[in-house]
């Protein structure tokens, strides 16, 4: 339960980094390259900037209510029952929009790229098993495993970047800004929505279960910045090595990038090792989603213990992951057409609404105090 769990600033930084890199490292370069062509790397940088602004808003909300989680903030600001209803709606829609699709990505990635003869359900069940195991053990175990796996992740990432760098062709990014700045905005928006807006769920753990909140805001920002820059580098490399057309045509450009690694015709076909990187980051993304969903349900219904809900929720997760997207074209249209407005509404408009209500309430209580005094 929140309040009992305490994690340190360094742990929240590592967790935020892994959460930021999350599923985006697999899917984001393709969509961005199809919109912004060779300028996708500029769009990614713009996206990181806009994302940090959004994160500033989240940390502002967190600092206004340092003892509460997102559900607690909703209940204080919207009233008890409306807050509970809003929280429930928020987390139900988020559940079918975030963890289930991420599980679909990993299943789809495995069955299309690595083990094509295995049914997607088998991959999803196996992956969901470790997610459920981690979510059941709680946040402290999760952050410690993040600390353990982070060096491996960094090592893989650095070797990935280092080994791909030799294939760079600078012609691929030229001419810079061929179509003007117009296509940059949609690409940056999709980057921001996929990578940074889901950070709103960090408000479930961010202020309430941290032991020193002064350092955590910084750690939260640094973690997101590191993760965001990692993604910018991956997008840039995909454009530089594969070129904008090939990047847009691949579903998983970073995997295609890893296939390119060939040092002296000797060190090659190591893309499966590189895929470990994605498993790590996707694992932390899904597990954090699961953990926050379970704690949110527990807080909405005022439960004493929450880990009992993980197993049935895991079962729903597995079945939803094969229901949500009937096929890959549906996923691509959904991710561009509906995920962007959906995430804007829950991650930008909704927190803004909460901040407005907070402002009105403080003004009101001040006026009341003045009229009484």
């Amino acid at each position: 339960m929140p309040g009992q769990i305490k994690i340190s600033a360094r742990q929240i930084m590592i967790l935020t980094t892994l959460f930021t890199v999350g599923s985006a490292i697999l899917i984001i370069p393709s969509g961005m390259a199809s919109v912004a062509k060779q300028d996708a790397w500029i769009a990614a940088l713009v996206g990181v900037g806009a994302g940090l602004l959004i994160l500033y808003m989240y940390s502002k909300i967190a600092s206004l209510y340092p003892e509460m989680t997102l559900i607690g903030i909703m209940e204080t600001l919207l009233g008890k029952w409306l807050g509970k209803a809003a929280g429930l709606l928020f987390f139900i829609t988020l559940f079918i929009n975030a963890p289930a699709p991420v599980l679909f990505y990993i299943g789809n990635f495995m069955t299309t790229q690595m083990i094509p003869e295995t049914p997607i359900l088998a991959v999803n069940i196996l992956f969901a098993l470790i997610v459920v195991l981690a979510a059941r053990l709680g946040l402290e175990v999760l952050v410690r495993s993040a600390e353990l796996l982070f060096p491996l992740f960094t090592l893989l990432y650095i070797s990935f970047v280092g080994l791909v760098v030799s294939d760079i062709k600078l012609e691929n990014v030229q001419p810079v800004l061929e179509a003007g700045v117009g296509p940059i905005w949609p690409a940056a928006l999709s980057f921001c929505c996929t990578v940074f807006i889901p950070h709103i769920i960090m408000l479930m753990i961010f202020p309430a279960s941290i032991n020193r909140s002064d350092q955590t805001r910084k750690a939260f920002f640094i973690g997101s910045l590191i993760g965001g820059l990692m993604l910018v580098v991956v997008v840039t490399l995909a454009i530089l090595v594969l070129g904008p057309d090939l990047t847009a045509r691949n579903i998983y450009p970073s995997y295609a990038l890893a296939k390119k690694i060939s040092i002296g015709n000797f060190l090659q076909r190591i893309e499966a090792i590189m895929a470990t990187m994605w498993f790590i980051s996707l694992f932390f993304r899904i597990t954090l989603y699961m953990h926050t969903t379970v704690t949110a349900i527990a807080q909405i219904f005022r439960l004493k213990e929450d880990r009992q809900l993980v197993l049935p929720l895991g079962m729903i997760l597995v079945i939803m992951s094969i229901i949500v997207y009937p096929n890959v074209p549906y996923q691509q249209t959904y991710d561009t057409k509906t995920w962007v407005p959906f995430s804007l509404s829950i991650g930008l408009l909704f927190p803004l609404l909460l901040l407005c209500i907070h402002g009105i309430r403080t003004m009101w209580s001040k006026k009341r105090a003045e009229s009484k005094g």
Partner: protein, 83 residues
């Protein structure tokens, strides 16, 4: 048809295993609300899974979200923020 039944049986077995793991603890501790929520979630999970195992047509819930967000999405497309 038989294979469908086997699938449903497998889902029920998994649900039974999950209940065996979780229910005795909650029962002993008298966690009534937890038990209710656990049962509701498990019931939903078994329901959807069985429907899927029997090859019923299940609409994806994302269709509804798409329908709700269509005006907003069209607006963003109109001002050029979605391509």
């Amino acid at each position: 048809m038989l294979s469908h039944m086997v699938n449903v049986l497998g889902i029920l077995l998994i649900a039974a295993a999950i209940s065996l793991v979780e229910v005795p603890y909650m029962w002993k501790k008298g966690l009534k609300k937890e038990l209710w929520l656990f049962s509701i979630l498990l019931f939903v999970a078994v329901g959807i899974s069985c429907a899927k195992a029997l090859h019923w047509l299940i609409p994806t819930p994302l269709d509804w979200i798409t329908a709700v967000y269509r005006p907003f999405s069209n607006f963003l497309t109109h001002i050029g923020l979605i391509r």
